[in-house]
């Protein structure tokens, strides 16, 4: 196996492992558009990262975390619905990111790589930071699992029962921001939401508990990364989109199993 394929596989598998359970929460909390909006702000992070001279991954993580907390606050605004606010933040950040990127004379940012992912070009350094972040996220998720799930089912009930709901919401958004920054490297800004919600939705049909759904989603993601990279290698297809198409194939298969109205 070529070295670059091995690195891509390692990075992709790690991202799929965290995107599965996080995606399950995104689906349960009906936050698919939230995830989409967050990923759009990532380009601003890339541009700002180049501007102030830090690693794009660092810039992305910071900007997405800030955007997540900001969006969390915007949820309380009356008079405009959340989907409108999400659209505004997402596209304003995307536009701002494109402008800043265009003003950078010293570097030429490969926009296509960020928008559609460039998993075949990840280096060993990337693989290490992706796995480090993955281990951290899995540990945090396992620690918060009960409270996070309780707050997802009914926030008031959870609060009365002693769950710190505000803390759970903030932690969830921070972790989600991290996962977006990770996923961006694999499938690109425009397809991050796909990696979050499609494996989780595909896992629904075979799940009777929240935990099985989270684990199955991770499993579907891992299989899709493998299959996507293989087809990319074999037929010279773009890697990120191939991975997304593979998760979608599993999702379509799961439709046969889901009950109908």
């Amino acid at each position: 196996m070529d070295d670059f394929i091995l690195r891509a596989l390692l990075a992709g598998v790690a991202v799929a492992i965290v995107a599965g359970p996080l995606g399950a929460f995104v689906v349960w909390r009906r936050m698919a558009y939230f995830g989409g909006a967050l990923s759009h702000t990532a380009l601003l992070g890339v541009a700002l990262g180049f501007l102030i001279g830090v690693e794009p991954a660092v810039g992305v993580t910071l900007v997405v975390v800030v955007a997540a907390v900001l969006l969390g606050g915007l949820q309380n605004i009356r008079g405009l619905s959340l989907d409108t606010l999400l659209g505004i933040v997402a596209h304003a950040a995307l536009a701002l990111g494109l402008i800043i990127a265009s003003t950078l004379d010293s570097v030429r940012i490969d926009l296509m790589a960020y928008l559609f992912g460039d998993i075949l070009s990840v280096g060993w350094g990337d693989v290490i930071w992706i796995w480090g972040a993955t281990v951290l996220i899995v540990a945090v998720l396992m620690k918060l699992w009960h409270g996070l799930l309780n707050a997802t089912v009914h926030s008031d009930l959870a609060a009365v029962e002693g769950t710190n709901v505000r803390q759970m919401d903030v932690m969830f958004m921070v972790v989600l921001a991290l996962v977006v920054a990770l996923s961006m490297q694999v499938v690109g800004i425009l397809l991050v939401t796909a990696l979050l919600i499609i494996p989780a939705s595909g896992a629904r049909a075979w799940s009777k508990t929240p935990e099985t759904m989270a684990v199955l989603a991770a499993g579907i993601g891992v299989i899709a990364v493998g299959a996507g990279l293989w087809s990319s290698y074999q037929y010279d297809m773009p890697a990120g989109p191939s991975i997304v198409v593979c998760t979608t194939a599993v999702f379509v298969l799961s439709l046969l199993k889901l009950p109908r109205v």
């Binding site: 349960w28 089912v153 008031d156 009930l157 609060a159 629904r204 929240p210 759904m213």
Partner: protein, 255 residues
């Protein structure tokens, strides 16, 4: 605070959102083994008062005293779990307690609330009446001293409602818990409650059901006919209302 039987006391609770006062001067006191019911029209501040008492929301002014270490079982007004979240009744019950809960304990509370058959059913497939019983079971699983029930018979048919109220009665009897209940069903309230607090953005009247049902504000809120079928006892009242519900007291120089 007074004796051991005192569970929770709300005093002079006022809640305002900006200039909009949604609740003022609310006093509620619940003792062990006592059922206190909050009644009043939509928008009267019943749920607001419940949220303040649960500590979910801070009052603008006023205080809430809780017995130290008070264990509260809460039954929210609405519960809608996204269909994408696979969760059985058993798993849902277990979420209510941080420690591991045995299947046996889950079965016991479901037995008590009469919903033992649905232990392993998905939450989204159970009926409205079953959901209320499951919510009640989850509240009981915490071994509460105080039960807070926000419209416990919502989404339940007429015969089911009577059953549920009987169930709440028997839980009060067997467990000697205090109960705060928000309700619309005046007949049941009058028959099964120790203390009624009638709200219309402030406390209209409060007391034993038989007193409250003759109160002029109660009559104004719910109509003469309702009141007369419920009333057995009259008492004096100390204020009247403007059309907007505000109080005409002795310092009022209009109307």
């Amino acid at each position: 605070m007074a004796d051991d039987n005192q569970l929770i006391t709300a005093q002079g609770v006022e809640v305002a959102f900006g200039d909009n006062v949604v609740l003022s001067g609310a006093n509620v006191n619940v003792r062990k083994g006592e059922i206190v019911t909050l009644i009043g029209p939509n928008g009267a501040g019943k749920t607001t008062l419940v949220r303040v008492m649960l500590g979910l929301m801070k009052p603008t002014t006023g205080t809430v005293w809780r017995k130290p270490g008070l264990r509260v079982g809460y039954m929210p007004q609405r519960l809608s779990i996204d269909p994408a979240l696979p969760i059985t009744v058993k798993r849902f019950l277990r979420l209510g307690v941080p420690e591991k809960v045995t299947t046996n304990a889950c079965m016991q509370v479901l037995e008590e609330t009469g919903a033992i058959d649905i232990l392993n059913n998905p939450m989204q497939s159970i009926s409205g009446g079953e959901l209320q019983r499951v919510l009640l079971a989850r509240a009981l699983l915490r071994q509460p001293e105080l039960l807070v029930l926000d419209e416990p018979v919502q989404g339940v048919d007429i015969t089911g409602q009577a059953d549920l109220y009987r169930l709440i009665q028997s839980i009060r009897q067997n467990r000697q818990v205090g109960v705060v209940m928000v309700s619309h069903d005046l007949h049941v309230v009058m028959a099964q409650t120790d203390h009624v607090v009638c709200l219309n953005q402030h406390v209209c009247c409060a007391g034993h059901p038989s007193q409250v049902s003759r109160h002029p504000e109660f009559v104004a809120l719910f109509g003469d006919e309702v009141a007369s079928t419920l009333a057995v006892y009259a008492h004096d009242h100390d204020h009247q209302h403007g059309l907007d519900g505000h109080v005409h007291g002795e310092h009022c120089d209009h109307g």
